[in-house]
């Protein structure tokens, strides 16, 4: 059969479509966005009424997926690693309720923080929730694992977590599809209608059930096609290698023959018997895993006595950052390779706000307004406008997590930093800013909130913004006073007028919302080009 050239993200989406998924739920987040976009662009998905619209945030996405699973249909929910923090509450509890229709949770980690604020490892969440985890080695396995994962989820009535990394998400390779497309499930209620009622007496039973099933998950891992023990003659060392890191290992052996035993891991919980076999026959174990040293820590134990384990914790591999073939070569005791050094004149070329971006005008007006006050008053958020931290703007003082601008400004104002300013985008505002705004209103906090409304979720490539056309209604509804909702157009020619409005609102000792509204320049370009194409 002909190979399709697919990104890891696309392979997962194709796998889900071919495995009879009825709906996908997500909030955009690099590097996970393309999974949902692939389904949104699929003719097959449209013809078969597969849900694929964006959710307001990862928590609402996770809960909607759980609802679809409750109704007996197969569903997938996708997010970047930090999105799983937002969805952690329903995720952890979905392990207790269990699933009905197959449910897969895809979390895309970002080791080396290519476009994230941390490099947390989603396998911790899987272990924490006690759910099985799948971690593909390549795009083909990513495709195959979706089918397997839905089957597993329906067999054990448990959500299955798939953990990928940026390298898997955004790397292309050939994928062969299964010959048959599976039908979607019919609507089918849970056999026990109290399964999803987590009152303590039911939750206790469900938790015991999960603990019991966990033994089966280990047995399944031991027999899994994704966990392979490949023997080798040299028993002085055994290698446990997880997910994509297996490729870096093989890269170091031209004939793909590793001289020592290798345990390739693609499914968790760890296959206990296979790990024991390696511990019994090898003098020491090298663990190669992208992300945190989870397997390494597990093998080592708290005291680190007994089994000799090497990896990220003892410095054999770096403690942080993405792995690559060279780091693995050094860990194997092989010579490193290096090309020419980078000439001294090479300077960085950081990303920047696009020429003509409305945020530029908003920042210039804000910075001028604040120039008469002491520095350090601007709490910002996650989006293109975070680039306002860089030169020449240097206009913001925080970027922590989705929605934190409003609540941090409130806390700082509570502490006496008045005026304090929050800068948040329209999509981030509906994701996690609305609840914080209600806190500020109820406390009548003296903060000025700038909701930079460019009408799109720009940073991740211009997805629909869930609050489009509703921003001031939301503010009004939550209780912002009409006189303190100010809409302005961020343009150079309006600079003086915009500064004047900002000054007025900064002087107000309550919650003000300023909405600089102008469409994203990239979104306009895309819209015009699409229009020309359709002509």
């Amino acid at each position: 059969m002909q190979k399709l050239l697919l990104l890891g993200d696309e392979a997962i989406a194709q796998g889900a479509l071919d495995a009879g998924m009825s709906g996908i739920y997500a909030y955009p987040g690099t590097p996970s966005t393309e999974i949902t976009e692939f389904v949104q662009n699929s003719k097959f998905a449209a013809e078969n009424h597969i849900h694929s619209g964006w959710s307001v945030n990862e928590k609402t996405a996770m809960e909607s997926a759980l609802g679809m699973s409750y109704a007996g249909k197969r569903t997938m929910v996708c997010m970047k690693h930090v999105g799983l923090n937002v969805a952690a509450d329903p995720f952890i509890n979905s392990a207790i309720t269990g699933a009905n229709g197959g449910m897969m949770v895809v979390a895309a980690d970002d080791p080396s923080m290519h476009s994230s604020q941390n490099e947390q490892d989603s396998r911790f969440y899987g272990k924490f929730a006690l759910v099985p985890i799948l971690e593909p080695v390549d795009q083909q396995e990513a495709y195959d694992m979706v089918h397997y994962g839905f089957d597993f989820s329906e067999k054990y009535k448990v959500p299955v977590l798939m953990r990928i990394t940026t390298r898997m998400a955004h790397s292309r390779s050939g994928v062969v599809r299964r010959p048959e497309i599976r039908k979607q499930n019919e609507l089918r209620m849970p056999s026990d209608l109290r399964q999803f009622v987590l009152l303590p007496n039911i939750a206790r039973k469900r938790y015991k059930n999960l603990l019991r099933e966990h033994a089966s998950f280990i047995t399944e891992s031991e027999a899994s096609p994704f966990n392979k023990y490949i023997d080798g003659p040299d028993k002085s060392m055994g290698i446990i290698v997880c997910g994509i890191a297996y490729n870096y290992l093989l890269e170091n052996f031209a004939d793909r023959n590793v001289p020592c035993p290798v345990l390739k891991i693609g499914q968790y919980p760890l296959p206990r018997k296979l790990v024991e076999k390696m511990a019994d026959e090898c003098d020491e174990i090298l663990v190669i895993e992208d992300g945190y040293p989870i397997v390494e820590e597990l093998l080592k134990g708290y005291l680190g006595r007994g089994l000799k384990v090497k990896g990220r914790l003892d410095g054999t591999l770096p403690r942080d950052g993405e792995l690559n073939p060279n780091l693995v070569a050094v860990a194997l005791g092989k010579p490193d390779t290096f090309g020419l050094p980078v000439p001294d004149l090479v300077v960085g070329r950081p990303p920047s706000l696009c020429s003509g971006c409305p945020h530029i005008d908003s920042y210039y007006a804000l910075s001028e307004t604040l120039s008469v006050l002491s520095h350090g008053r601007v709490f910002s958020d996650i989006g293109c406008y975070t680039l306002g931290a860089l030169k020449p703007y240097e206009a913001i003082n925080s970027c922590v997590d989705m929605g934190a601008s409003i609540t941090m400004a409130k806390g700082a104002a509570d502490a006496g930093l008045v005026p304090a300013v929050a800068v948040i985008g329209d999509s981030t505002f509906t994701h996690s800013g609305m609840t914080g705004l209600l806190d500020a209103i109820n406390d009548k906090s003296p903060i000025t909130i700038m909701i930079l409304d460019n009408g799109t979720t720009a940073m991740t490539g211009g997805q629909d913004s869930p609050g489009f056309g509703k921003i001031e209604d939301i503010c009004r509804g939550l209780g912002v006073e009409e006189a303190h909702i100010r809409i302005l157009k961020p343009l150079k020619k309006n600079h003086e007028e915009n500064v004047a409005i900002m000054k007025e609102e900064l002087a107000y000792a309550g919650v003000s919302v300023i909405i600089p509204r102008r469409e994203c320049i990239v979104a306009i370009d895309k819209r015009v080009r699409e229009k020309l194409r359709n002509k």
Partner: protein, 193 residues
């Protein structure tokens, strides 16, 4: 046959199109392929880079090891230098000489050219000007692909076929413009090797 290629440039310069064309040509010949890129932040006028690996045998790593790339194809001169640690001793740097200056501290272009000249095997051409002469200012990336074509280890016609396929929805005129851009880049490389 195995080729490990670093594609470099600035967001929006079209390195992904080059990857798609080489990738399609490779797959049509029954080769294996892995191509890795970074999306997100890097697209906002920042530096972008893609690892492209094609081989008749299965490929293990998505990432090319340092010191082992067969070539660096760069649509921007400063960017061609950023990835030199990946280049093998026998490797080629094939770069555009037209700067994309969107940073305040962009180095002097003659100093950049001096550094490029130090790389043992290199081809440097003004791909923007070449593209314009060939009939399409937008085809800078295809000129660079043409300049790299003698080093790809595949028949020139296969790359032409791939261009016809990738641009099939854009009409015959666009295809012809890109084919002449490819030819112009290829001719330059053959005369300046």
């Amino acid at each position: 046959m195995k080729k490990d290629i670093i594609l470099a440039g600035v967001g929006g310069q079209g390195i992904i199109s080059i990857a798609s064309i080489i990738g399609y040509a490779a797959l049509e010949q029954g080769m294996f392929l892995k191509q890795s890129e970074v999306h997100g932040m890097s697209q906002r006028g920042g530096d972008v880079m893609s690892n492209l690996r094609i081989s008749h045998n299965p490929i293990a790593s998505d990432l090319i090891p340092f010191g082992q790339a067969d070539m660096i194809i760069s649509i921007e001169p400063l960017e061609s230098l950023r990835y030199l640690p990946y280049l093998s001793g026998e490797g080629w740097v094939i770069t555009n000489t037209r700067p994309f200056n969107n940073i305040p501290n962009y180095p002097a272009i003659d100093e950049i050219m001096r550094e490029i000249a130090k790389v043992p095997h290199h081809i440097a051409l003004d791909a923007d000007a070449t593209a314009k002469v060939a009939g399409s200012a937008k085809a800078t990336n295809i000129v660079m692909l043409g300049a790299a074509s003698p080093f790809l280890g595949m028949a020139y016609e296969k790359i032409e076929d791939a261009i016809r396929f990738i641009f099939r929805k854009k009409g015959d005129k666009i295809i012809e413009l890109n084919l002449s851009a490819l030819r112009a880049g290829c001719d330059f490389a053959n005369q300046n090797m």
